[in-house]
Each structure stands twice: as C-alpha cells, then as structure tokens.
C-alpha cells in the first residue's frame, strides 16, 4: 500500500533521500521543458508562449488521474495523503507575493534552482534573494504570526466545497484543462511576436 512513507516503508532520513531524488527529477524536467530560462517563463505574461501554463496543467491532470485511479484500485490510501490546510488571507497574500516575484524576477522558486544548476547568473541571484527573503520572513515571524494563522478553514477539497462527488470534480478539471489548452493555443496565435523580437 502507498503512500510509502505513511506505511513506514522508509524513515525520515530515507524520506530526505527520496525527496532529493524526486527533486532532481523535477528539476530535470523543468529544464527540459525550457523552464531554466527566464525569457521562456515570462513569455506567459506576454501571452505569446503559454508553455508554463500548459506544462503545469498537464502535470496537474496527469497526477490527478494517476492518484484517482491508484486510489480506486486500492493501491493508494488517499486519506493518508497530506493536504495543506487553508489559511485564506495569508495564502492569498502569499500567492500575490509569489506572482509579483515571478513577473519581476522571471523565475519561481523551483525554476530558479533549475536555472542555477545550468549555470545561469540571474537564476543564482534569484536563489540568493529567495534565501534572503526566507531569513527575513523567519526573523519577522513573531510579528507576522497573527496574520500567518488567520482565516483558518482546515483541510478543504473541491468535492467538499462544491458538494460534488470526487469523480465529477476529476472530470470537470480534465475538461477545464482541455478548454484551457485550446484557449492558450488561441492566445498564443493572437499575441504571437514576430520572429525578429523573440
């Protein structure tokens, strides 16, 4: 049965090793998708290359279908899979901070590490900023604590919030992804830049 860690297949130390291996794999595929380049990443904000959107949504749909079918077959115990609880206000603000940082810096946390690994200086600067911001946040945490824990709604799921069955939500998300891909293709044509500007 899975999740392996929850069934005691390996301990905390081995968990770190597994995380390292999975992280290397994640970084490799980010790089292969072209996400080691800030130019490629920020293209999504100019709507002329929505590869980031498409790759991320593909990953979501693939993982969602995989998890659904594994759980349906009884291989995966979904009730043991960790879900981040909802703290509405800090998560909205955190999302905005990440989005603004993404648009300004050209990377998100994962892609900045992938970029650094391929020797890009801007990626390294971004990672240093990430570390600096983390330290500032940690030191300021006592001041931010009240806000950090505000708007607590516990663990929320789309089936629970929408009152739909799990399977219907899965199907709806797949349809949403296909619609999103079609829309992204249309936007890319609409906002395509001449080859000389790329």
């Amino acid at each position: 049965m899975t999740p392996l860690a929850k069934y005691g297949a390996f301990g905390d130390e081995m968990g770190l090793v597994m995380a390292f291996i999975i992280g290397i794999g994640f970084g490799f595929f980010l790089e292969r998708a072209g996400f080691g380049s800030a130019k490629k990443l920020v293209s999504q904000f100019y709507l002329d290359d929505l590869a980031v959107f498409k790759v991320m949504f593909t990953a979501i749909v693939t993982a969602m279908l995989g998890v659904t079918y594994l759980a349906w077959m009884g291989v995966l115990d979904l009730s043991l899979v960790y879900m981040t609880p909802t703290w509405l206000w800090p998560q909205i603000v955190g999302g905005l901070v990440l989005g603004v940082g993404f648009a300004i810096g050209g990377y998100c946390p994962g892609t900045s590490v992938a970029a650094t690994a391929t020797g890009r200086i801007d990626g390294l600067v971004y990672v240093l900023g990430l570390v600096f911001g983390t330290v500032v946040f940690a030191e300021a945490f006592p001041l931010l604590k009240g806000f950090f824990y505000s708007g607590s709604y516990g663990q929320q799921t789309l089936p629970g919030v929408l009152g739909l069955s799990y399977g219907v939500v899965v199907f709806a998300v797949v349809l949403m992804a296909i619609g999103g891909f079609a829309g992204a293709g249309w936007l890319e044509k609409r906002f395509a830049r001449p080859a000389s500007q790329q």
Partner: protein, 218 residues
Amino acid sequence: MPGFFSTLTLNQKLAAAAAALGAIAIFANPLPGGAVSIDARTLADIVERDADRIEPLELADWIIQGRSDFRLIDVRDAGAYAKYHVPGAEHVPFSSLTDAALPRNEKLVVYADDGVRAAQAWFLLRARGHAGAYLLRDGLDGWQQEVLFPALGDATTPFQQQRNARLSNVASHFGGRPRSGDAGAAPAVAAMALPTPPAPVAGAGVPAGGAKKKKEGC
C-alpha cells in the same frame, strides 16, 4: 473512425485519452481508500524501535515552541479531563475513539493517566489506519514526573546546572515547579497540586488552540 483518429495530433490524442479517463473517473469512489489491515510485523517493529512514543519533555518542547504539526488527544473520561489536561489537548473519550472524526493524515499524540491505556488507544488508532498515531510515554504520570514536577539532581557541573535550569523553566511554563534535592527526600508527586486546567478545547474536528499545522507541502 480509425481514419479520423489518425488525423489527430499527438496533443489531441492525449487530450482525448485524458477526457476518456476523466469520464470514467466520474464513477470512481477513491475515498476512503479500501479496507484497513493491521500489519503485525510493522507494528512490532515500530514498538521495538520505540518509534511509537513521544517523551514527555519532547511534547513539552513542542507545546512551548507552538508547534502545530500534531494533535494531542486526551482519552480519559470527562471528569478527569476537566480536572486537568495537558494544554492544547482535545478530549476524545476512549469509548468514542472508534468513531471520532480524527484525520488520518495528521500526527496524533494520545495520552491517558498511565502508559497502558494510552498504548491501547494507540493500537486502536493504528488499527483504524492512523499511521501518524503516537502515545505519550507514561501518560499523565510521566507528564507530572518529568514536566510539571521534575526532580532536580545535583547541580555541580555546568551541564547539570543547565539541565536543571531548563527543567525549571519548562515546569514553570506549565504551572508546575521542580522538586529540589534528591528524589527520595522530595515530596511525592501525587501530593502536589496540579495547576489549574487550561481552557478546555472542543472535541475532535476542531484544531487545538493555536495548534495548527505547518509541515510538509511545498
């Protein structure tokens, strides 16, 4: 039909496959995830490694640090819970452990008056598939002996002085006080008055006061 299929691009074929899988998934009911089974060897191994228990001082540190990646469950009866409970503990009487709506993806620390009842609760929770269940070693007895009223040993070396200072700090944080001198001459723990209980925490389903999770995830 095969002719039509061959005119599709790879992306369109993949999209069609995802749509088909999604449509079939409408009939899926992946929760609660199959029957629970007890793996006796796994349990024995956990007990062997002492990986089933949390030390009283460790728990005290977690509470002082405001750690929120665990839920503390008091399985004693309501009277005992009202008289005293560890700060932040939720009351889930032993009899209702089997149908309490406790999450299976969170760390649960159970305790009772002594270690035996807590161990039984731990087994029950493990059997119900709570892989993150732990027990407080020696229960409330251990909590009193080691956290509320710890016996301070000699303080001749700096290390011992540091240790005693830490024990005193922890004890006073929870409204207790250390027993000084050698353990034999100190008054019996049972004779010492327990601190006033902290405000009770609502039953299972509500996170303990201030005890919120912030682990795992990205």
